[in-house]
Assembly symmetry: C2
Homo-oligomer: 328 residues x 2
């Protein structure tokens, strides 16, 4: 089977597994929002990474659909709660749970999703369960820490580069690391391999977030799902803006602060003006270099892996490369 | 050692264990609220029940402080999130977390508390971990279901007795059952004993909630911590009100509906009037009988237990009796 077919087949079966899972019936107010958010789709990248890592070590991924689904349920729990905190009206183009129902229901449904994630980890062999729950807990707490840091940063004038990287590492990258770690761990990979594949996931995860920051400014509007320049319009503290705040001097600094301070403005004008400042400061290439450095650091981890199934390894590389070259 | 001394000593050591636990440092916004709510006190009844059940089967309770603390952390997580949903300004006489910080922080700190509860379960022997997490998950989901039902009931005209009992069983009683179940399970009690002690906990838990409903109306104000009649003032759907709604006919029904419908009223007058209706309908004695029936059903479960340490058993009975005769 080619790698592409392998990935397609895994995703199809995983989707069947997820949509076939009953989250509960009663009370409907508690369980319907879970079925709803899990049904909104998404790339299922986290469970897919678990399945590929498991297969890479010579195991049959259908054995760990439950644990892989646990990561997707956890991820969607964080989305449900983050959307309340961010007062987001839409998620994947559909009303968020707190909009469609209300905030209380979104809090409580999210809580029960987190509990369900632990349930889905339970089909783990006894000898591995302690370690599986330990690493899951560690990552889950870190994701909460990342979300808190992200909320804290909103109130700051600016944020140092290393603090921003620390935040995105916690908020989004460690969960990709966990996904791969979980697959390797369940497959019985060596301690060293489990660590290396985790580090691979975390590093490419940081790279993906930097790529998100770049795409928001430089994506092709025809291909991009959201409004290009949205982060500039909302003064979102992306790597690009933070780097510009760090490097701008004199007139550029004044102009940047001017645009950040305006409460009323023409969106197109602001995007063009801030992009102009980024251009003068070389922000795009700086960010691309930083992103590349994380991708490279990630791929270095793969060199020493003791892989048993090359097709799965090729599939993992393929999926990663595709994400690295995505245009939306 | 007498039972009273035993309980006192266990509570002292447990409190040291809880206050000595570091929930985390950074970001402070995430972890300070956890230290805060855990420091507000409370009777620590759930972890105490675990310790006593464990001791009853001949084991040394200091071995399971971590798992016992997990239940207290879980309980306080539910309080933190429930307080947001109920828009409660105070918890144990102090500002609630969403008031002292904000709702977003209360959501996220609660989330990380739930994760931490699972961490605290991890020192469980490998052979028991799967079952411990399974029963914990089951109860945790049920507690969420109970809270959702409670919120649903607010919007209903009335609620049938069995639906109310079902709700309080889920919202509060099953966690007392779990506390005892966890202690027995960890101590290696038989499957039958684990089930019996769980059923004991659930049944006395339902009884305690009915007692709460009674105390709110009939407590001695000098001893009661809150305003006596508070549930009447706020039209809270307690067992007493639901029973009165079921039994009142004609003029009594009209009078009850009149008081429930008033948006402005003298609090003392409303409490006196509704108490008068309860009096005419014999609500107090009906509720006391129902409460007693749950207490009795609970105590029946204890008869067949294979107890190894009678001092711990006496202590468990003592703690239960004290709760059954509390005046606040």
């Amino acid at each position: 089977m080619t790698e592409k077919n392998l990935v397609h087949e895994l995703l199809t079966k995983l989707e069947e597994h997820i949509s076939g899972h009953s989250f509960g019936d009663s009370p409907a107010e508690l369980y319907d929002p879970i079925t709803y958010i899990m049904g909104l789709g998404g790339k299922r990248i986290r469970p897919l990474l678990s399945l590929l890592a498991y297969g890479m070590y010579g195991k049959n991924p259908t054995e760990i659909f439950s644990q892989a689904a646990a990561l997707e349920v956890f991820h969607n729990f964080t989305l449900m709660h983050d959307d309340i905190m961010d007062q987001a009206p839409l998620r994947r183009g559909k009303p968020t749970v707190h909009e469609k129902w209300n905030a209380n229901i979104a809090i409580l449904s999210g809580d029960v999703m987190l509990v369900r994630a632990y349930d889905l980890l339970l089909p783990t062999p006894t000898a591995l369960l302690h370690e599986v729950i330990r690493v899951f807990n560690k990552t889950a707490a870190e994701v909460c820490e990342g979300q808190q840091l992200d909320m804290n940063f909103e109130g700051y004038e600016t944020v140092a580069e290393e603090d921003y990287i620390h935040m995105i590492r916690l908020k989004t990258a460690v969960l990709l690391g966990l996904a791969l770690q979980l697959g390797a761990l369940l497959a019985g990979a060596s301690k060293e391999d489990v660590q290396r594949i985790y580090d691979f996931g975390v590093n490419i995860g940081v790279g993906f977030q930097l790529q998100d920051d770049l795409l928001d400014v430089y994506a092709d509007q025809a291909k991009f799902g959201k409004q290009v320049g949205g982060d500039i319009i909302s003064n979102k503290k992306t790597f690009l803006l933070l780097k510009a705040l760090e490097l701008a001097k004199g007139k550029e600094k004044e102009e940047l602060q001017h645009w950040l301070g305006l409460s009323q403005f023409d969106k197109g004008e602001k995007v063009a003006a801030v992009k102009g400042i980024y251009e003068q400061l070389g922000i795009r290439s700086l960010t691309e270099k930083k992103m590349q450095s994380y991708f490279e650091k990630g791929f270095q981890q793969l060199e020493a892996l003791q892989i048993k199934n090359q097709t799965y390894y090729a599939a993992l590389l393929g999926v990663t490369q595709e994400l690295m070259h995505r245009e939306k």
